[in-house]
């Protein structure tokens, strides 16, 4: 493998490791002290983007970066075992981080495709939700699990730790993965504006939240410290107050002895008893007169002690027999001020707590005490006050205990390894704890007060306000970024759609154009065909017209010449020949009738229908007027009901009635007066008219035939006719989009029905 190939293979890995490490270290700055709880872990976003961009091998880089960060915070080099045990969790946590990024990237590749960040409306949402909250379960679980196993996270706060870890990683992904991806995955180079639109608000939002966080965090720290300092001061003041009370009691006793050369037992008991009632912290007061032992050494035996109950064993005790007390006695004489002993085990007390005895020297009244010699010469004895250090300190501690503060008090000159008093559960303070050390002078001795708040307490009882602020801010930034990406993606989608639609539209337009051209051609074809059809129809009608017209000329000639011959022959014709000539004339007349019928038929087709509102009654009247003579001749009776006004050609409608009535008049039994009834009524959506007669009727099988052209059902001898009438009727009704039919029984008359559109 060449050096270049190695670099190409390892380079991305190192880039990712560096990116993870740097962003991780920067992320730690955002951790809420104490501890490492952070609301945003940018490194997780870098990791996801790294895997998406470089592929799965970036996982190694993530592992390396994460490992270095965790080792940095936890490495313990005190020994090989410690080193190993501090490295192992770091390796595991790093593994969790790497797996998380790999899984997140795999999810994204599987479901969305990470290149859709700027091009797909919901792409950003899916990418960030899969890579963020979904995948970030892994690192949080592995990391917190490891710390818990190692005992670095107490069981009760596992969930809190897990939650903060998960939020931190998720927000880190939601903010930083798009930031990196927007700039590394560039499907189209001209997308600078989109990249900037996506980046600037994200970065600005992030910085604003970080600034806000730093400010709030600092204020929170200052508040914590101030609270702690307040507690420390309170504690100290409380102790000082107790000590001052003790001193006051001793001063009172001192003044009792100063004013009286002889203080008897009753006097002492009464006075001291009253003092003790006022200052409950003082356990006992005693009078230890100065004396000389047999060997000449000084003694100070306890003569009076209040209260006596419980202190009987102390009576007669020579306080000079104890070197601890002697040191205080000497100091008391040397300074003339009250002197406290080092913590000591009281004779009379069974409790294991230490006591402290304060001695005040009493001198012979009126004698000089300016120099140590004079004071030694005139020493009369000591008054002593006994206090329980435990009582004093625990009383003071009780007031501040609630704030998680631990206290350890020790006499600096005394036994260092054993504290004077310590709060329950107070071990050693540790690094990172909030700590305050105060040295308090106590009647010539020094007590060291150590107060601290353990980190564990701070973590367990931290105010989540700051973290919530950070988390909410970051979440908002992340969601806002997501929203931006959605908007940008949407605009991209719309742009794309617009482009596509435009293309489609253009295509559709050209298709439409072609279609239009085609349909115009079709229309032109249809028009031409129509014209041709019309022309041929016209030709046909013209033909029928001319044919029938031309037929008339020879026919006329025939009859005219017959007439001429008859005229010429005059009287020379015998009656039989005259009958023959008559037959020719009558045949010619019939033929002329046929030809005229044909002409009428062809004219019907040729002339345009004039459809106007016409009164059917008027048309009927016109037909009756035309048939006046026939009506009179046959003595017919015509009845008609109410007849409507319809849209029709008045002339044709009259003709229709004329033909139908003519029919009814014609086909009658000999000698019968025709009775004809006409009605018209609205039937569904059309007018139904009927013309009923009392004529000879028609056989059912002939009903359908009789509307045919030149169809005649009777011989001329019975009923004359040209076979045109009903064909004309049918044509007229058809021209009006109606139907015509007849119902009949032979001998019972016929009813013709026809319809006209309403």
């Amino acid at each position: 493998m060449s050096r270049g190939a190695v670099l190409r293979a390892v380079g991305p890995l190192l880039w990712v490791a560096l990116g993870y490490y740097v962003s991780g270290r920067l992320g730690l700055l955002l951790a809420l002290p104490p501890g490492y709880a952070t609301a945003v872990w940018p490194a997780s976003g870098i990791a996801l983007a790294g895997v998406l961009y470089f592929g799965n091998r970036a996982g190694w880089g993530i592992w390396l970066g994460s490992f270095l960060i965790n080792v940095w915070t936890a490495l313990d080099l005190r020994g090989l075992t410690e080193a190993l045990f501090s490295v192992l969790p770091a390796a595991l946590i790093a593994l969790g981080a790497a797996v998380q990024a790999l899984v997140g990237a795999a999810l994204i590749r599987r479901w969305v495709g990470y290149k859709n960040l700027l091009t797909q409306e919901m792409g950003a949402v899916y990418i960030l939700l899969l890579g963020g909250p979904a995948a970030c379960v892994i690192s949080a679980s592995v990391g917190v699990g490891t710390l818990w196993v190692r005992g670095l996270v107490p069981t009760e706060s596992v969930w809190v730790n897990w939650f903060t870890w998960w939020i931190g990683d998720s927000v880190g992904v939601m903010i930083f993965a798009p930031l990196v991806l927007v700039w590394t995955v560039r499907p189209i180079a001209q997308w600078l504006s989109r990249q900037i639109y996506a980046t600037v608000p994200l970065v600005l939002g992030f910085l604003v939240v970080v600034g806000l966080f730093i400010s709030v965090s600092q204020r929170e720290q200052a508040r914590l410290r101030a609270e702690f300092q307040g507690a420390v001061g309170e504690f100290r003041t409380q102790i000082q107050q107790e000590l001052k009370d003790t001193r006051d009691v001793l001063n009172s006793l001192q003044s009792l002895f100063d004013h009286s050369s002889e203080v008897d037992q009753a006097e002492f008991d009464g006075f001291a008893g009253r003092l003790l009632e006022q200052v409950p912290g003082v356990r006992a007061l005693s009078w230890n007169p100065h004396g000389k032992a047999a060997d000449g050494s000084d003694t100070a035996k306890i003569r009076y002690i209040v209260p006596l109950a419980g202190n009987e064993s102390a009576l007669g005790l020579d306080v000079t027999s104890d070197p601890v007390r002697v040191r205080a006695l000497r100091r008391a004489v040397a300074t003339t001020a009250p002197a406290a002993t080092a913590p000591l085990r009281l004779v009379q007390q069974a409790e294991r707590t230490d006591g402290v005895v304060f001695f005040v020297p009493i001198y012979q009244p009126g004698l000089p005490q300016a120099t140590p010699e004079q004071r030694a010469q005139n020493l009369r004895g000591y008054v002593a006050a006994v206090i329980q250090a435990g009582d004093l300190l625990s009383a003071a501690y009780a007031k501040i205990q609630a704030r998680g503060i631990q206290v350890r008090v020790q006499d600096l000159e005394g036994n260092v390894s054993r504290p004077l008093w310590a709060s329950a559960g107070a071990g050693e303070y540790s690094r990172g704890d909030l700590l305050e050390t105060v040295v308090l002078p106590v009647a010539g001795r020094e007590w060291q007060l150590q107060l601290w708040v353990p980190t564990t307490y701070l973590i367990a009882n931290r105010s989540w306000q700051t973290w919530t602020l950070l988390a909410a801010g970051m979440l908002f930034t992340g969601l806002f970024g997501m929203f931006l990406l959605v908007v940008i993606g949407r605009s991209a989608v719309i742009e794309q759609q617009v482009t596509e639609r435009t293309a489609e539209l253009r295509q559709a337009n050209s298709m439409l154009y072609r279609e239009t051209v085609r349909s115009e051609q079709l229309e032109a074809d249809a028009r031409r065909q129509n014209q041709e059809l019309e022309a041929s129809n016209q030709e046909l009608e013209q033909f029928a017209y001319i044919a029938s017209h031309d037929l008339q000329a020879p026919l006329r000639n025939l009859s005219a010449f017959t007439g001429l011959i008859e005229h010429r022959l005059g009287d020379k014709l015998d009656p039989e020949d005259r009958q023959h000539f008559e037959a020719i004339r009558s045949g010619s007349a019939d033929m002329r009738g046929l030809i005229e019928g044909l002409l009428r038929m062809s004219r019907l087709g040729r002339e345009r229908l004039q459809r106007v509102p016409v009164s059917v009654k008027q048309c009927l009247d016109r037909a009756l007027a035309a048939l006046q003579e026939d009506l009179r001749a046959t003595g017919a009776r015509v009845e008609s009901g109410d007849l409507p006004t319809v849209l029709a050609d008045a002339t044709l409608l009259s003709q229709l009635f004329q033909n139908l009535l003519g029919n009814a008049l014609k086909f009658q039994p000999k000698g019968q007066h025709p009775v004809i009834a006409i009605s018209g009524e609205l039937h569904q959506s059309e007018w139904l008219f009927s013309v009923r007669d009392n004529g000879i009727g028609v056989a059912p099988e002939q009903l359908s035939q009789m509307f045919g052209m030149f169809k005649r059902l009777h011989r001329d001898e019975e009923y004359a006719g040209d076979g045109i009438g009903l064909a004309l009727c049918k044509k007229i009704v058809r021209l009006h989009q109606g139907r015509i039919w007849a119902e009949s029984k032979p001998g019972e008359g016929t009813t013709f029905y026809f319809t006209l559109p309403a």
Binding site: L555, S559, A560, G563, H567, L599, E607
Partner: protein
């Protein structure tokens, strides 16, 4: 003199020789003293009319009986030519034709026909027609002698 002498001549224009023959026979049979000139086409009719007008300007010499359906120049065209020519435009023209179609009747009157008659089918009808024509045109009809430019244009 405001009215002309009644035309004693009939100019029958028909392309059918049989019809001309029948007409001649019918006129003869009717006994009406009219002079009949039979012509086979419109152009001949126009020529004859114009010649007659040249000979006797201002005289309405003839009643024209004009068939409608004729080859070369049909009845309507002939009629329109007559009505366009100031020399002969006052000539009374009676259409005598086979068609009874409304549109034929209408177009002939529109072109300036004085009357429209369907050819009778029977020989007797034909003789009756000449009798009626003679009576009608000789006894009842007045014809104008006013110069044509003072009359409304027709057609």
């Amino acid at each position: 003199m405001e009215t002309s002498a009644k035309p004693r001549k009939i100019l029958l224009v028909d392309d059918n020789p049989a019809d001309l023959y029948i007409a001649r026979e019918a006129l003869k049979a009717s006994g009406v003293g009219l002079e009949l000139t039979a012509l086979a086409g419109g152009q001949e009719a126009l020529r004859v009319l114009r010649e007659a007008a040249q000979k006797t300007p201002g005289e309405v010499a003839m009643l024209v009986l004009l068939d409608l359906n004729m080859p070369v120049m049909d009845g309507e065209a002939t009629l329109r030519e007559i009505r366009k020519d100031p020399a002969i435009w006052l000539t009374p023209v009676v259409m005598l034709t086979t068609s009874s179609a409304n549109h034929d009747v209408a177009r002939c009157y529109a072109a300036g026909a004085n009357a429209y008659i369907c050819k009778p089918l029977l020989f007797n009808g034909m003789t009756q027609l000449f009798t009626d024509l003679d009576r009608f045109w000789s006894s009842h009809v007045l014809l104008s002698k006013t110069p044509p430019n003072l009359l409304p244009r027709m057609g």
